[in-house]
Amino acid sequence: MATQETTQLDSIIANRRALIAAGSAAMAGLAVTAFAGKVYAQSYTDTDILNFALNLEYLEAQFYTLAASGVTADQGPGNPISLGSGAGPVITKGTNNYASCKVPFTNPLVQAYALEIAYEERNHVKFLQSALSTSAVAQPALDLYNSFMGLGAQLTPSQPSFDPFSSDAMFLLGAYIFEDVGVSAYHGGAELIQDKINVLAPAAKIHAVEAYHAGLVRTTLYTLDPDGSKGYLGLASSMSKVRATLDGTSSSSTGTDDIGLVTPGSTTVTLEGASGSYPATTQVNADQVNYLCPARTPAQVLSIVYAGGAGKGGFFTNSLNGTIK
């Protein structure tokens, strides 16, 4: 839920991005003077930010471990995680029939991707827990069932029974929901971190890994549906629109912060020719002018993961744990 602080931060970050996009000469003065005081006058500690990230990593670890292996992340093969004291339940289909969540993969590559990403997300949970030590929050209550159906109902075409555990393609769409958001969350969080050496450095590394994951998912959706006829690209693009609507940027003057998967060739780029017209894709989730991947404030991320709920809902039944919620 947006607080006054988060609203102020939203404004600062949105304005910074707008200025960078415009290449305005005024940005220099603003970066050095007007913003300097505001950036540091914030209410989030680095502990708050890492715990915010930890909540999201719990969510991803559970989704991917269930999809890849049909067990919860504390049973994850190779590197099971601790969910922390007082951890919340994980709601899945089949009244928490976790084994039924294992995706019936027909594509061994997609299955391998699921296993790899699951392992890496569990590692991220462990890393953040270690960095936070006794300050680490436990996993909050998670919903990996009603949440997906609720988001699916908002898609075009509507998918009120959306089940990311039902097939290779639906799994990739489920992953699509998370990864771009994770990238933008770490990007936005990076600007709030105060300790550059001990906290920003590893956060930047996790940010990169999330972007590799997102890139892997988007590439695979493109290769599985290269002309869009299967509908995967359309659903992914619709999901991007839903996210942009939820976080309030769908009609932003600086552009939406979520780019879907356009049908290959339906967009063109000019490259170095004044009248060049080269067919292109949108494999990268980046604005189509400066090709920067977007950042989201914590409030914007929450608006998406709560799926429009006020202070809770969506993937987080009873809100996140920790300060940023």
């Binding site: 680095d46 890492l50 300790d195 890139g215 590439t219």
Partner: protein, 327 residues
């Protein structure tokens, strides 16, 4: 601000997060830390100005741009985008790359456009900060690749031309993006302005998205019955060579991970429990960062040790302040 946090003390009492990446000269005690290591002081100021760092990055963006544009159109940057007094570019002929796949051609066009956009964005940003953006330095995409290919021991190294086939081209994409990601990741803690960090993180993520594309397509191409695994083998040989070059500053990992693709036999058993490893990350599943020094060693392609100001992809060195290796 920037006093040691509780997190810092806990971190250093347990493990070292920064082995081989992002370290600055003042914090050399970070290397070789153990559970009993005294936490290193957090430097109050970066050894580099934001303008220096952005110009350093701009050199790499010029390099990527000349590479990708030739893959897309057969020609490089315009004189206007290359800057006044720009250096020459030596490249083998062969672009645009014949992909045989409309989707792959579209990918090349997309990320070529993004690199042109990054060159222009960095130039504008440096100017708006009151600095002077460097022009394109002299770039070599011909001998540099052959030398790397020969050192790596890949097939047909002596005539390796990244524009002669999609398979060759995508390998070049993979190694350039790995370098780009590790360079931006390693530079993040050195940036002073939040606005500049925002833009740099936006570019860092984009490099990783594209790196993932290359790694995914290389691995997929090597999978399945009867697949040709040459491209995957070549990519991994080159990645290993780049790693060795980037092992300055005491790094043992180098900064990138080979692409493991054991899907053909369906065997599980690698560390991740999957038969595949696409993401270049360490045992904590964190990506690697490289110091500017490590990146320069790779760019100049000579050795991981020694003081160099030119070589490899940059026959006359990078332009700007950050251009000489320190060890």
């Amino acid at each position: 601000m920037n006093k040691k946090s509780n997190i810092a003390e806990k971190v250093f009492s347990r493990r070292c997060f920064l082995a081989g990446a992002g370290s600055v000269a003042a914090a050399t005690s970070i290397a070789g830390c153990s559970d009993d290591t005294v936490p290193a002081p957090i430097p109050e100021t970066s050894p580099y100005s934001d303008i220096d760092i952005l110009n350093f990055a701009l050199n790499l963006e010029y390099l990527e741009c000349e590479y990708y544009l030739r893959g897309a159109t057969g020609a490089g940057l315009s004189a206007a985008d290359a800057g006044s007094g720009a250096g020459t570019v030596t490249a083998p002929s062969g672009g645009p790359v014949t992909t045989g796949n409309a989707l792959y051609t579209d990918f090349i066009n997309e990320f070529s456009q993004s690199e042109v956009a990054h060159v222009r964005l960095l130039q504008k940003t440096i100017t708006s900060l009151g600095g002077t953006p460097i022009s394109r330095p002299t770039i070599d995409l011909q001998t540099a690749f052959i030398t790397l290919a020969t050192t790596a021991g890949i097939s047909n190294a002596a005539t390796f031309n990244p524009f002669s086939s999609w398979n060759n081209f995508i390998v070049g994409v993979a190694i350039f993006e790995d370098i780009g990601v590790t360079a931006y990741t390693g530079s993040a803690p050195l940036i002073s302005s939040a606005a500049v960090l925002d833009a740099a993180a936006g570019i860092q993520a984009k490099e990783a998205y594209t790196g993932a594309l290359a790694r995914t397509l290389i691995a997929a191409g090597a999978s399945g019955v009867g697949a040709d695994t040459t491209t995957l083998t070549n990519a991994n040989l080159l990645i290993a060579t780049i790693n060795k070059l980037g092992m300055a500053d005491g790094s043992t990992a180098g900064g990138a991970v080979q692409i493991n693709s054991g899907v053909t036999n369906g065997a599980l058993g690698t560390a991740t429990g999957s038969s595949i490893t696409l993401t270049p990350a360490d045992s904590n599943s964190l990506a690697y960062g490289r110091t500017p020094n490590q990146v320069l060693h790779i760019a100049y392609g000579k050795s991981s040790t020694g003081v160099y100001s030119s070589g490899g992809f940059f026959p006359n060195g990078l332009n700007g302040t950050i251009k000489t290796t320190t060890t």
